[in-house]
Symmetry: C2
Subunit: 233 residues, 2 copies
DNA sequence: TCCAAAATTCAACACTTGTTGAATAAATAG
DNA sequence: CTATTTATTCAACAAGTGTTGAATTTTGGA
């Protein structure tokens, strides 16, 4: 596990990114020191700064490294699902394209990717950087998926569409946070490490959620009044 | 806004809790210094330690302060919904009992409660404390709701039940994180500050999600094979 | 009024933080 | 080999961290 002196780590730049990825994912930005990263990477304290500049830039570099790969994997599956559908794609297929590349792809075996996903969960849930960073890396992807969902649910209102995405994103985020809470609550029935099981359940759950907005929509057309903010119980 | 010397803040203990609540919610545990808390509360640096001991104990005290009140509000609505239902309660009523006290109650007007909810979002999504702290404060509540859902969805498997709760909890958590991301993505159609709107959408979405597990369940009884972990696409 | 207890301030401690410039080693080109 | 760039180490910096003990003020009951 430790670095051998006779065979020094060739790419120390990568080692630093890996260590930072893991530490940031586990303890958050402020919970991590450059010394901890350097120790974990087996390099000198000054090296992270030499390669990446100040701490904040290292954080951005970690996020950036895998962003393109991830976005491409998800867009590929979305394109494929749109091609295969003769006319309107199914909601389920779109949601699968959104979830499966992260949860059941080959990447999930790699420890680095798990840490990366946990880091995204941290960022997505952070009031400080949630807006800025997620926008920077994932906005185009999200808009592509929203367009696809508009095809699957023609006439859906933007409000329903984006609140639906909000619920989906929240479930996915909590999955990646890997708090182990569901393992504890369920007494072992659910294992948060079983990402395939998590994926299947989230697909079912969120597909039904979006479909419910479709039904709501058709109900509106028939003249049934939409449940407004003032309608409590 | 600043503290007047002739009329000193009576309960500085509360002022410290309020300031800590806000700071921890916004920047996380490690992103906050005792000096920032003291400054925000308008008290001396040494005072937080005098009242609450070390930093970590102050953090716990903040979480503890409103936990009982919140749990009582949610349990009251759950009990009421269980009483009103002649036999089996509806899934929607149970989910409303889980969400509405936090999202449409009187508390939501108070800035302190908003901060508290954001703090819970932070804790629930944190791999470090997500398990320990959420368990400590909210396990009994969750089990009460799971029991109620078992009444509404008789025969539901634990795996489905807890993954459903996972999705619900994730959506709620992301709502409270208040990252403003949905405002940005939707171009103004959705406002994350409109918690009533958020509540109605989450109720609809997650109710349909749980109901989908019910349908899945009845389909199983009819002999249709359950989608297993190995069944991709 | 006087006094003990509680509340608050003050100053400082030992330690950790991110960052950097100079010194050294390794790699590479001429 | 030599010279030059690149990579890495080392030591130290100024600033900020949580915590604490002693001193001071305020409080409230006898």
């Amino acid at each position: 596990m430790s670095v051998n002196k006779t065979e020094p780590r060739l790419d120390r730049r990568t080692a630093i990114l890996d260590a930072a990825e893991e530490q940031f994912a586990k303890h958050g930005y402020d919970g991590v020191t450059l010394r901890a990263i350097a120790r974990r990477a087996g390099v000198d304290l000054a090296l992270p700064n030499y390669y990446f500049g100040p701490k904040r830039d290292l954080f951005d570099a970690v996020l950036f490294r895998r962003a393109e790969i991830l976005n491409k994997a998800r867009l590929d599956q979305l394109d494929q699902c749109l091609e295969e559908s003769d006319q309107a794609p199914s909601v389920e297929a779109i949601i699968r394209a959104y979830l499966e590349p992260m949860l059941t792809g080959e990447q999930v075996e790699e420890e680095g990717w798990k840490n990366y996903y946990a880091l995204i969960a941290y960022v997505n849930n952070s009031p400080e950087w949630g807006g800025q960073l997620m926008t920077q890396f994932f906005d185009p992807l999200v808009y592509r998926f929203m367009d696809a969902l508009r095809l699957a649910l023609p006439g859906i209102e933007d409000r329903d569409l984006y609140w639906g995405y909000h619920c989906l994103s929240g479930a996915l985020t909590l999955t990646f946070a890997q708090t182990g809470r569901i393992d504890h609550l369920s007494g072992g029935s659910c294992r948060s490490s079983d990402l395939m099981d998590a994926c299947e359940h989230m697909v079912q759950f969120t597909t039904a959620g979006f479909e419910a907005f479709r039904k709501q929509m058709t109900a509106d057309k028939k003249g049934r009044p939409r449940k407004g903010p003032s309608a409590r119980r």
